[in-house]
């Protein structure tokens, strides 16, 4: 049974210029202890999907329809129906489902020490007293391999380097032993050698804490390293879904194929093979398949009808008319 199942999620923004269908019928599921990568370019709705799960969508955005089914020890709860500020959501958010953001400098409070911020989560969710919470916070900082954790706990976010801050962020997310961690571009802001340290840490912690991870990123290299399953998103919809090896070795959707080809390779000179065209205007989406205007293999049907996500090979889902 999946730990979390998102069904036909639609999150729209009601702007003066019109309705932006940022997430428009997106479905996926994640099993316990699994790592799922959600891949896509900026504006495709991947971060908004994460915010929808945690009930953090703010106005003028709104979850319009769909279900977010969370399996809380056998009991299924639809997170999309909960009051985002209600008791139940607050007991899940940060406790059972934790989030790691891209830029720890903006997601941490600059006026509290690192230790205080981790303790706050523990006192609130795990009902520890201050002394126990501090002990646990320091333990967590040690887990994420921050040197001299006792001292670091008393420092403020600005006193730490980017890599150390991201480690502290990970410590905070894992402090309550969540069953699901949503990591939104966790290494994008870091330099490549620091990114390598943090990725290695995440791989270690994944084995140790056994949380399921939803990894949101545009970096296909990062996904290839730590995810088991991948969903590729394009303009609010999932276009392809399968195991990492299927998606990387035999991508089926023309967008996925284009995306794979467009990344320059570091292992051998590969040349540049861009996807032509641009992402469609969010207020003026093509009526059929959203990739049709850029697709090298577009057909007549693609212009008028939107394809559905279908299983074209065992556990390989694609939404494209080529496979009908």
């Amino acid at each position: 049974m999946p730990l979390l199942e998102v069904k036909e999620l639609r999150t729209y923004f009601y702007t003066e210029a019109g309705i932006v269908r940022a997430v428009d019928g997106f479905s996926f599921a994640i099993e316990p202890e699994q790592t799922l990568g959600i891949v896509g370019e900026s504006g495709c709705g991947k971060s908004l999907t994460a915010l929808s799960i945690l009930g953090l969508v703010s106005r003028p955005g709104k979850i319009v329809s769909g279900e977010i089914l969370y399996n809380r020890q056998g009991k299924i709860i639809d997170l999309s129906k909960l009051n985002p500020k209600g008791k139940q959501m607050r007991s899940i958010r940060g406790n059972e489902i934790a989030m790691i953001f891209q830029e720890p400098m903006t997601s941490m409070d600059p006026v509290y020490t690192i230790g205080d911020q981790i303790m706050e989560t523990l006192i609130l969710h795990q009902h520890l007293d201050k002394k126990q919470a501090r002990k646990r916070a320091i333990e967590m900082l040690r887990e994420v391999k921050i040197p001299l954790p006792e001292q670091r706990a008393n420092e403020y976010p600005h006193q730490l380097s980017g890599g150390m801050r991201q480690r502290a962020m990970i410590a905070m997310a894992l402090s309550c032993n969540p069953s699901l961690v949503i990591a939104d571009e966790p290494t994008t802001a870091l330099d490549v050698t620091i990114q390598a340290q943090v990725l290695d840490l995440m791989i270690d912690l994944k084995a140790e804490f056994r949380s399921a991870i939803i990894l949101i990123t545009h970096d296909l290299g990062v996904v290839a390293e730590i995810a088991n399953e991948v969903v590729v998103m394009y303009v609010g919809k999932g276009v392809e879904k399968s195991t990492v090896s299927n998606v990387f070795h035999s991508p089926k959707h023309p967008y996925t194929q284009g995306l794979m080809d467009s990344i320059p390779s570091i292992t051998a000179p590969s040349g540049l093979r861009p996807i032509e065209g641009v992402v469609p205007d969010a207020l003026n989406l093509p009526p059929g398949c959203r990739f049709e205007p850029r697709c090298p293999r577009a057909m007549k049907t693609c212009k008028t009808d939107a394809p559905l996500l279908k299983e074209v090979a065992p556990n390989h889902w694609v939404s494209c008319w080529l496979y009908e």
Binding site: E41, S42, S161, G163, M164, D191, V192, T193, I194, Q195, A196, Q197, L199, D200, H218, D219, L220, G221, V222, V223, A224, E225, V244, S245, F248, H249, G258, L259, M260, S262, I263, P264, S265, I266, T267, P269, S270, G271, L272, R273, P274, I275, E276, V278, V279
Partner: protein, 349 residues
């Protein structure tokens, strides 16, 4: 392809920023952002300058153009000039000593493309004025001709002529970067310093803009100093690559040579850190301990020694000199001959 003629030579370039303290603003220390780099660029060449944030690569680029004044060093540009007396040919010009008047004329030969077109394009100007402004400033052409030239430039970067009537905010990130590229090309420069020109763009658009830069290079016979942290991009566009660490160039070599046979331990670690978008590959990552030290007090001896896994006693006290190992492969490491470094991309399956 690079030709034989030299375009730019940089010798012992330094840029120190003073740190001032107290009421009297006494200088207590210097941030040694660029600390003595040498490089050269031939006509038609792409030289990539790679390194992590804070290594001084951006400062190096800006100092070469004298957008910030160098503290020390020589910047020599070879420009083609026609004198009033009819003499013409290549002239060797010391950019670092150029008068403001000469500097202005040199700006026609060297231009820069920045990372973020949102902040490098004036949001209150129409695209036509942005791209045409250099022509106006340098008095190259009259208004009518100018419009014609701007039209051609926009077409050259893959935009439509009618886009000149619009404002930057009406375009996507990729298109805005195309506008910034058009502006850099307006005066037909020969040297372009591109500072992370595609880092702010999405993957699929990134390849488009890179492709455009490469096409334009052919068409206009440009030379690029390409500043970036993205090694995969570097491998696919560069003729030569310079690796910077803490204000110094630690290794400089032809691109394929560098990627196949890195000779500096920092280059090796940097390459091994890049996640490969192929689940069958596992890079044998070399984790560098700790963070990059402060450029105010760089470590004595080799600057990389506190993080180097091959460190020996001599590295802690003696600064390694830059040596040539054949084939234009320059490296600053005491043990470059003895270490057998390799490109650590291995198939696991």
């Amino acid at each position: 392809m690079p030709t034989e003629s030299m375009l730019l030579e940089v010798k012992n370039l330094k840029k120190y920023y003073p740190i001032q303290k107290g009421l009297l603003r006494r200088v207590v220390a210097y941030v040694k952002a660029v600390d003595g780099i040498d490089l050269s660029l031939r006509e038609g060449e792409v030289l990539s300058l790679v390194g992590e944030s804070g290594c001084g690569k951006t400062t190096a680029g800006r100092t070469i153009l004298r957008l910030t004044e160098p503290t020390e060093g020589e910047i020599i540009l070879y420009v083609y000039r026609k004198e009033a007396n009819g003499a013409e040919g290549y002239q060797k010009i010391n950019v670092n000593a150029a008068s403001p008047k000469l500097m202005k004329s040199l700006r026609r030969d060297m231009q820069i493309i920045y990372q973020d077109p949102n902040s490098s394009l004036n949001g209150r100007m129409k695209v036509g004025s942005i791209v045409g402004e250099p022509l106006y400033i340098h008095g190259v052409s009259k208004a009518k001709e100018r419009e014609e030239q701007v039209r051609d430039l926009l077409v050259a970067v893959g935009m439509r002529p009618d886009h000149m009537k619009r404002y930057p905010h009406e375009f996507s990130g990729g298109q805005r970067q195309r506008i910034a590229i058009a502006r850099a090309l307006t005066l037909k420069p020969r040297l372009i310093i591109a500072d992370e020109p595609v880092s702010g763009l999405d993957v699929s658009v990134r390849a488009q803009v890179l492709q455009l830069l490469m096409d334009l290079q052919d068409k206009f016979r440009l030379s690029y100093l390409f500043i970036t942290h993205d090694l995969a991009v570097v491998r696919n566009i560069s003729h030569r690559v310079a690796v910077m660490y803490l204000g110094k160039i630690v290794e400089l070599a032809p691109a394929e040579e560098l990627f196949n046979h890195p000779r500096h331990p920092y280059t090796e670690a940097l390459m091994s850190a890049v996640p490969v978008p192929n689940p069958d590959y596992r890079t044998k990552r070399i984790l560098l301990p700790g963070d990059v030290p402060s450029p105010v007090n760089p470590p004595l001896g080799c600057r990389f020694h506190p993080r180097c896994r091959y460190v020996k006693e001599v590295c802690k006290t003696e600064v390694p000199a830059q040596r040539e190992l054949g084939g234009g492969h320059l490296v600053s490491c005491h043990f470059a001959d003895e270490l057998h470094l390799e490109m650590r991309f291995r198939r696991i399956a």
